[in-house]
């Protein structure tokens, strides 16, 4: 299963599900990263982590291991 951490830059994908412990995933869902939402990685920090993603018209920074908890589909 594809996760957000594996997606190449600028590719639009749709969120399928967010995994992880309850408090963790609730936070991401509430930020609007719920199933069906379109996301794209727009940038990678110079040190390789975190990632900058575009979701619902805003830019968020999210760590790679957190992005690996977000399952996506093309």
């Amino acid at each position: 299963m594809l996760t957000l951490a594996e997606v190449e830059r600028h590719a639009q994908v749709a969120i399928v599900a967010v995994d992880g412990e309850r408090g963790f995933r609730r936070r991401l869902l509430e930020l609007g990263l719920c199933p069906g939402t379109q996301v794209a990685i727009t940038n990678i920090a110079p040190l390789g982590d975190p990632l900058e993603i575009e979701v619902r018209g805003g830019r968020l920074s999210i760590r790679k291991d957190e992005a690996a908890q977000i399952r996506v589909r093309r």
Partner: protein
């Protein structure tokens, strides 16, 4: 008194709107139970209405006490009256995400007014306010927090809503599944009578209660939630239902895509792999140098000014205890508070600029990779860096971190950074006790100084790593570390200056008073009983008969040394000698360490007085280098010097730091912990250095 609360996502312009609504004159305090700033000001148009500025939140769902503030304020659960109206700041460029919070508030039955901010940035993407108001069922007023456009209309809308006074009914836009409805019923029955009896509050409890650090949640509610056994599926259902409604009803109101091209262009440079890091380094260099070096003239000016005031007071007051108390205790004490202002003002000037510009979030983004190795977030970078100049402003800067756990962990390690007040101590010790050699063209003395910086960096990083694992309240929760990268904006000098003022005033009022009291207490400790020990020569007569000014000064230094030696502080120094002897220190160093509690650099002057050489550092160096033990060997060897430097690097010899930590954590628990762990660390390390060094024959 009627209150109105301003809620909204972080960075949506709440504080800007609040400043416009109230004129910016704030009563700033803390929320009960947590040290998060609470600002209250009277609405300009209606001084009987208080407006409360609340820290930004994406949701009312909370895990920690500081996230709970939004709910507590919205519903008046913290003892303050419930607000008559909640003004929700909604970022016009982030419509759907900002409205998520509004839905939660409406479900809870809060009477809401929407302030649609950032309409200037949204441009054609901004929704039509009338259409939005129709969909949301509440007043929507477009405003521009920066210019104040629309704020009058917002005030009118707030007043209308307050005066309408009709109780608002909960508005729920989704249907719970039968399973969820049963869970809601269970929990709702357990809600205390003092809480609003709504389904939404039951949903809130089902989402938050469990693995949490919330305060004031009744046991009955906890038990009911446990009985209902909520799972992750509940979160999916609730959150997806709200977003579904927003996507269907609201998303279409934004007619265009927000133009982010300007920000993207700037980001291409500032977040660039090479150039971005170079610019980052340059910005941090300027920030650091301004605190470390460029603040020096201002600090010197403060010291000179207080010196003048002291001299002036000496000139008019009669000699004696009162004079010494006023000059050394009170004026010196106030000086030791004011001396922090240049660095505090400078740091908050830079922080304000960087934050307003949008770069502070990028600093966190750039440095996150490094900081997380210590279980900290990128937001800890600037406070930690500032710690190399002075821990006091650095601790104050931890407020830029949203999580209390991160703030506290950062505060615990900041005092380990080599602050500029340690330099005079290192300089004295290195100059007096270490021989000059050159190794590969570099002098050993400067290598030692660099070594002390490296040592402090390594220990502070290691301390963060360890503390994050062993201190229970600091264990990292698996929470996503999401930062919003806001669009770049031109900084507004007025807001920056206003924040500098607020911070300075809070420091003076809350930490300054503690620092002043401690300075006076310390002064008294090293001053009284102000008697020469029995059998001392008659200094007064000898000084009067001194043949030359040099002889007179020497006698005065000897007398001051004898007076200090007989003080309660020095007796304490003697008393702790057995404890510090294994570190290679004698009681005189002990007295210096006690004196250094006022400020580390005071160590040098206290040591000068106790050695009877006054405050001339040159003579003190010679004196230290030539002091012998009974057996004729040097008393202060390079090994003692190294042990002393290690002690100063690690011990929390600074009551001002402890005073600001007390202010920033809202109690004595954390400052006591900092003092305790650092003292133990310092003692053990110096012990090892001295004992191992002695065994090796140094």
């Amino acid at each position: 008194m009627t209150t109105v609360a301003l809620l909204g996502n972080p960075n949506t312009g709440k504080t800007s709107v609040w400043n416009r609504l109230t004129g910016g004159s704030a009563k700033v305090g803390n929320y009960p139970g947590v040290t998060v700033e609470r600002r209250v000001g009277a609405l300009r148009k209606r001084p009987d209405i208080d407006v409360v500025d609340v820290p930004g939140a994406y949701s009312l769902v909370a895990r920690s006490a500081d996230e709970q503030i939004a709910l507590d304020v919205a519903l008046g659960l913290d003892g303050e009256p419930a607000p008559a109206v909640v003004v929700v700041c909604v970022d016009a460029t982030q419509l759907v995400r900002s409205l998520y919070l509004l839905l939660q508030l409406q479900e809870l039955g809060a009477r809401c007014v929407v302030a649609l901010t950032m309409t200037d940035e949204a441009g054609p993407a901004a929704p039509n306010a009338t259409e939005l108001a129709h969909v949301l069922g509440c007043a929507v007023v477009p405003v521009v927090g920066r210019t104040g456009a629309g704020v009058d209309a917002l005030a009118t809308a707030i007043i209308t809503a307050v005066d309408a006074g009709a109780p608002a009914a909960p508005v729920v836009r989704w249907q719970p599944s039968p399973a969820l409805a049963a869970q809601i019923a269970t929990v709702r029955a357990a809600l205390p009578a003092s809480w609003p009896q709504t389904d939404a509050l039951a949903v809130w409890a089902l989402q938050c209660v469990g693995d949490d650090e919330l305060i004031r949640v009744p046991a009955a509610v906890r038990a009911a939630v446990a009985a209902a056994a909520p799972t992750a599926a509940l979160d999916d259902e609730v959150i997806a239902a709200r977003y579904r409604w927003l996507d269907e009803q609201v998303a279409g109101l934004a007619k265009a895509k927000v133009d982010r091209r300007r920000t993207a262009r700037v980001d291409r440079v500032l977040l660039h792999r090479g150039l971005g890091l170079v610019i980052f380094g340059a910005v941090m260099f300027v920030l650091f140098m301004s605190l470390f070096a460029w603040s020096e003239p201002a600090i010197a000016a403060v010291e000179t000014a207080f010196g003048w005031v002291g001299d002036g007071a000496r000139a008019v007051l009669p000699d004696g205890v009162i004079e010494d108390f006023v000059v050394d205790g009170v004026i010196g004490g106030v000086g030791s508070v004011v001396v922090f202002l240049p660095q505090i003002l400078l740091l908050f000037f830079f922080l304000g600029l960087l934050e307003d510009f949008g770069y502070l979030a990028r600093v966190a983004y750039l440095m996150d990779r490094i900081m997380r190795t210590m279980k900290l977030s990128g937001r800890a970078f600037v406070p930690m860096l500032s710690g190399f100049a002075c821990a006091v402003p650095a601790v104050m800067a931890t407020r830029t971190m949203e999580r209390q756990r991160d703030r506290i962990l950062t505060m615990l390690v900041i005092p380990l950074m080599t602050c500029s007040a340690r330099l005079p101590v290192y300089t004295l010790v290195i100059a007096a006790l270490f021989p000059s050699h050159t190794v590969g063209g570099l002098s050993t003395k400067s290598l030692l100084m660099v070594g002390m910086y490296g040592f402090s960096l390594v220990t502070s990083l290691a301390a963060a790593w360890v503390l994050a694992r062993v201190v229970k309240p600091l264990r990292a929760k698996r929470l996503p570390f999401v930062i919003e990268l806001p669009p770049y904006r031109a900084p507004r000098m007025r807001d920056v200056v206003r924040m500098m003022g607020t911070k300075t005033w809070a420091f003076l009022r809350e930490a300054g008073t503690v620092i002043l009291a401690c300075t006076i207490a310390l002064w008294a400790l090293l001053y009284f009983p102000r008697e020469l020990p029995a059998g001392s020569p008659d200094y007064q007569a000898q000084i009067a008969a001194a043949p030359s000014p040099e002889a007179k000064a020497e006698l005065e230094h000897a007398r001051d040394g004898a007076l200090l030696e007989n003080s309660y502080g020095a007796r304490l120094g003697h008393a702790i000698e057995p404890a510090i002897e294994p570190l290679g220190f004698d009681w005189k160093i002990g007295v210096g360490i006690i004196g250094a509690f006022a400020a580390r650099e005071v160590f040098v002057s206290t040591l000068g007085v106790i050695h009877g050489v006054g405050d001339d550092e040159g003579s003190l160096r010679k004196h230290l280098a030539s002091e012998r033990k009974a057996d004729g060997t040097p008393r202060y060897t390079p090994l003692v010097g190294l042990s002393l430097m290690v002690f100063f690097a690690l011990a929390c010899q600074c009551m001002s730091t402890l005073a600001v930590i007390k202010r920033e954590t809202g109690g004595y628990r954390w400052p006591a912990f900092v003092f305790g762990y650092m003292t133990v660390l310092a003692w053990v390390s110096s012990f090892l250095v001295f004992q191992i060094g002695s065994l090796l024959g140094y």
